[in-house]
């Protein structure tokens, strides 16, 4: 939290102060530096182990006080016939995919917010309702949100969902990495309940090491790709899989942080208010010159008469 608030303070004071004092364009272009905690947490999802019991879905709903069907109803595997996405009523869902030719077990993939290291939602939000916390989670502040849904436009994983049916005080819903639970020292609800230990909770650094260890130990079991290690600048949630992630309907993303280009342009146009002020001065000058010219023309006309 300390880092986060210090960053915010620095950014705000820089924005206000630099407009007056004037900074070199080089520091301006870099923009405010994003401070990430070295020991931020993450979850490693081993999709090769998941059996699709969907207990994580149940635990998630219970932990977030969403309407929850009884646990027995989750044995119904017909839900896998259609691909599902997280929404306002379910912050995580499990989907099922065909296995590799050499395997017999279906592949199950749990979907939820990836908790990006450089989240597009945090950058996009008009009122700064989203924040990347020290422990790695990306959370939403319901007191600030105005419901513009720009976070949903921005998110490369198409995660935030909106309560469209509510006329009063709709909320943006997404996985919050069980922020309140982890603060109390508990595990995220899905990690805690998972009977197959598909989900490993730990520091992101250690999880990446562990993921690569697993890949090198069982090269026939995993493809050599940890999804989330580099995607959109890295995510707190990391995935291992037995076949290409695009076949498991993961979005194809580059390694550049999602808000990178947009922030660079935004800070380029503004650059601590130098360009707007310069434009103002320029237009003022042009206006003054043209007015003088017009006045002298008028005087000349009077003389001729």
């Amino acid at each position: 939290m300390l880092n986060e608030s210090r960053r915010k303070f620095l950014k705000t004071s820089a924005l206000i102060g630099a407009g007056i004092t004037g900074l070199s364009t080089k520091t301006v272009k870099a923009g405010p530096k994003y401070v990430l905690d070295e020991n931020r947490m993450g979850v490693l999802v081993d999709t090769t182990v998941c059996i699709g019991c969907r207990k994580c879905e149940w635990a998630c709903k219970t932990a977030h006080h969403l309407p929850t069907p009884p646990l027995e109803s989750y044995d119904d595997r017909s839900v896998f016939e259609k691909m599902r996405r997280p929404d306002a009523h379910a912050l995580t869902v499990v989907n099922e995919y065909e296995p590799k030719e050499t395997e017999q077990f279906l592949i199950n993939v749990k979907v939820q917010c990836m908790h990006c290291d450089r989240p597009a939602c945090v950058s996009a939000c008009i009122v700064g309702a989203f924040s990347k916390e020290e422990n790695g989670s990306v959370i939403w502040d319901g007191d600030k949100c105005i419901g513009c849904r720009y976070c949903m436009v921005a998110c490369p994983f198409q995660i935030p969902s909106f309560e469209f049916e509510k006329a009063w005080h709709p909320e943006i819903k997404k996985c919050d990495f069980c922020f309140t639970r982890t603060k109390e020292g508990k595990l995220p609800a899905c990690v805690e309940i998972c009977p197959m230990e598909v989900l490993t909770y730990g520091t992101r650094k250690s999880l990446i090491e562990r993921a690569h260890q697993k890949i090198s130990l069982y090269p026939e079991r995993y493809i050599n790709h940890v999804f989330g290690e580099f995607e959109v600048g890295g995510t707190s949630w990391l995935y291992l899989a037995s076949k290409d992630f695009s076949e498991l309907q993961f979005p194809k993303l580059g390694t550049n942080p999602a808000p990178g280009v947009s922030e660079a342009i935004q800070h380029g146009i503004f650059a601590y208010f130098v360009p707007p002020v310069a434009l103002y001065a320029l237009l003022g000058g042009v206006m003054w010159i043209n007015k003088k010219k017009a006045e002298s023309n008028k005087n000349k006309e009077v003389h001729h008469e």
């Binding site: 405010p32 950058s123 009122v127 849904r149 720009y150 436009v153 198409q158 979005p251 342009i265 503004f270």
Partner: protein
């Protein structure tokens, strides 16, 4: 020529058949706004988690802002470049911009899930957000537009304040207030005029930055880092066509002679502006090699071709032809094509180009969404008519030049 032209209120019968039709469209739109407030966004729109933004953002806001660009382009031409012959079009352009931005703000408000928190950005800042920049600029610019319009109000009511009944005791203080406002504004107006142009340049371009963060969700034909520049250039190009189009419609509607001279002069400036926009648009396509997507036959490629050919290339050719400049109708048609092109561009950028990775049902606006959009446009036209009838907006030839009681500022 401009000496004997003077802006005056145009008293006419308000209700004509067209006005009645527009009123019905507006009323239906307002009913759907009411439904949205009572039953929520989901009940009235086809928006979903896959398509969080629809035509209320793509058309009402994005295209609305672009088509209100006549306000800042004529202000730049008339006041900053100090071309006095254009002063008689600055008022209609200012009124369009003022009404346009007012409805942009209203559209944003009804699209917000929590419209009652619309003031939050004023105190909760996120300097990284393009939307924050757009929101702040639009709020400030709207205020500037109202201030720029104030002199027209003072001109209309100074010496004519006549409140009914017991309110009549306020006649004298109100008149004094108007006179004080008039004096103060006379000296400070240039500050607001320049601010209006700067703010417009800022948010017209930032509106383009909005969709950049959507990254690969946006079709490569439109997704480019120079989107802010393209948005600014197209806004500049559509400003004068919008004035030409409006000027023609106003003159027809009020039975006045079209301002052929000014329309033609404005038309002369459209071709270069449109040419610059087209060269950047095509240059960007060549550099990023996105023309490969034009070989595919789908909604995106068809919409892109329509936008470029009918919305930019055809009007560019028309504005370059001398015959067109002689005919008000020809100019109006060419101007309409530019407007259509920019309108389509904004809709394409915000709706057609938006292709999220997981789609269950494609977005098409609901009856409610279309009704609200159409209703707001109708309401804008009706208000424009009412304002032109009440306030001195449109300039008409004066038979004898009478000395005005109060100096009339050219705003």
């Amino acid at each position: 020529m401009s000496e004997n032209m003077k802006p005056v209120p145009l008293p006419r019968r308000f209700f004509t058949p067209t006005v009645i039709i527009l009123s019905i469209i507006a009323a239906v739109g307002l009913l759907f706004v009411l439904a949205r407030l009572i039953f929520g966004i989901g009940a009235v729109t086809n928006l979903s988690n896959e398509f969080p933004w629809g035509i209320w953002i793509g058309i009402d806001v994005a295209a609305g802002v672009a088509l209100a660009a006549g306000g800042f382009t004529t202000a730049a031409l008339g006041h900053i470049m100090h071309k006095e012959e254009y002063h008689l079009i600055t008022r209609p352009a200012l009124l369009t911009a003022m009404l346009g931005y007012t409805f942009v703000a209203i559209s944003v408000a009804i699209d917000l899930g929590r419209y009652y928190y619309i003031w939050h950005p004023l105190i909760m800042w996120n300097g990284n957000s393009a939307l924050f920049e757009v929101g702040m600029c639009v709020m400030i610019y709207l205020t500037v537009l109202y201030i720029e319009f104030l002199p027209i109000v003072t001109e209309r009511f100074i010496g004519r304040v006549n409140l009914p009944g017991f309110l009549s005791r306020f006649n004298v203080p109100l008149d004094r207030l108007l006179r004080a406002l008039d004096r103060g504004l006379d000296k400070t107006m240039f500050i607001f005029i320049i601010a209006g142009v700067v703010l417009s340049c800022l948010h017209q371009s930032s509106l383009g930055t909005l969709m950049i963060i959507a990254g690969p969700k946006m079709h490569p034909l439109w997704q480019t880092p120079i989107l802010p520049l393209l948005f600014l250039l197209s806004a500049m190009a559509v400003g004068f066509p919008m004035v030409i189009f409006e000027s023609y419609l106003t003159s027809k509607s009020f039975g006045l002679k079209p301002e052929t001279n000014i329309m033609s002069n404005l038309g002369n400036m459209v071709a270069p502006l449109l040419g610059i926009y087209l060269s950047f648009k095509l240059g960007d396509m060549v550099i990023r090699q996105t023309f490969v997507y034009l070989t595919e036959f789908n909604t995106a490629s068809v919409m892109f071709v329509i936008e470029i050919v009918i919305g930019v290339i055809v009007p560019l050719r028309l504005f370059m032809s001398p015959q067109i400049h002689k005919s008000p109708l020809g100019l109006t048609i060419a101007a309409f094509l530019v407007i259509f092109g920019v309108f389509l561009n904004r809709m394409n950028n915000f709706i057609v180009a938006y292709n999220p990775p997981y789609v269950f049902q494609n977005y098409f606006p609901s009856i409610g969404e279309i009704s609200v959009t159409a209703g707001f446009i109708a309401l804008e036209i009706l208000l424009f008519r009412a304002f032109v009838m009440i306030f001195p907006i449109v300039s008409v030839p004066q038979p004898t030049v009478t000395k005005a009681k109060f100096s009339i500022r050219s705003v």
